[in-house]
């Protein structure tokens, strides 16, 4: 049962990942990304991490993918941009990928790990209580620093979204800035 479940999970994850990097349209890539993230959440559940699995669904499959879709719609990429892949020696890429994969697999294979999932873990391992227990004691200062990071990210997004991004003194002005001007025009457009 466990092996079958893992086989299906691994197939779905790898298949969706390949489809994600291979698909022509970024919209479909984003949708395959949802599949990958959901499958990873299932893997988290199998590894006794229910809280992280829930956070994964909410933050990754929810917020981040919606943000990606929003930006893809906003960019309205033309088709000729979408279908171009990188030119160059494709074989070299796959040789490099094989090397990296082999290296990672060798690292995993040569490690000495204890047994399997039958190894007992404490009751409530991976629950909200257990995770927040260490989060608010041992990792309290990193936790607070994360809040600063999120504020910085928010401010950065606001600054980057300004329409008058071109620095004074550069000769380039984005088209329509002089005519449009102001936040209202930015909201109304596109």
């Amino acid at each position: 049962m466990g092996v079958l479940l893992f086989a299906v999970l691994a197939l779905v994850t790898v298949g969706a990942s390949v489809a994600m990097i291979g698909h022509k349209s970024p919209i479909y890539s984003a949708l395959y990304m949802v599949v990958v993230f959901a499958a990873t959440a299932v893997a988290f559940l199998l590894l006794e991490a229910p809280f992280v699995a829930a956070v994964q669904i909410i933050v990754y499959a929810g917020a981040i993918v919606v943000l990606f879709l929003f930006v893809i719609m906003f960019l309205s990429l033309r088709h000729e941009i979408l279908i171009e892949h990188r030119r160059g020696p494709l074989a070299l890429v796959f040789v490099l990928a094989g090397l990296v994969a082999g290296q990672l697999a060798a690292v995993v294979a040569t490690g000495s790990y204890a047994g399997d999932l039958r190894i007992p873990v404490p009751e409530g391992f991976g629950s909200v209580e257990a995770v927040s227990g260490v989060l608010f004691t041992r990792y309290l200062i990193p936790f607070e620093i994360v809040s600063i990071l999120l504020v910085v990210g928010m401010v950065g997004a606001v600054v980057l979204a300004r329409r008058d991004l071109a620095a004074p003194g550069t000769d380039y002005a984005p088209p329509g800035v002089a005519a449009a001007g102001g936040e209202d025009a930015a909201e109304g457009r596109s």
Partner: protein, 100 residues
């Protein structure tokens, strides 16, 4: 039951697929998605090791990794939108101002 080591292999495969995507694709937004895939693979590794070692710390670190990924996505997509406004393209081969 299946061993957590199998999940380590799965994470390695996911990481490699993400790396291939970064090298192969040319749209900045797809490259960004591939980076998310690699981050996700690393998270899976953390969770698998947390289960292997019976330690909750791995899960706490994944929590931080998620927060950092969220901040990174916000700023990165902001940069992509800003580049698209300037250049009307997100093809990384044409965004080569810093290339020497």
């Amino acid at each position: 039951m299946i061993s957590p080591v199998a999940f380590l292999y799965l994470a390695a495969v996911m990481f490699t697929i993400g790396m291939v995507g970064v090298v192969l694709r040319r749209e900045a937004i797809i490259i960004f998605m591939c980076i998310e895939l690699m981050l996700n693979a690393v998270n899976l590794t953390f969770i698998a090791f947390a289960r292997l070692l019976g330690s909750i710390d791995g899960q706490a670190i994944v929590f931080f990794s998620l927060a950092v990924a969220a901040a990174e996505v916000v700023v990165g997509l902001g940069i992509i939108v800003a580049i698209f406004r300037e250049r009307a393209t997100t093809d990384v081969d044409q965004i080569n101002l810093l290339k020497f």
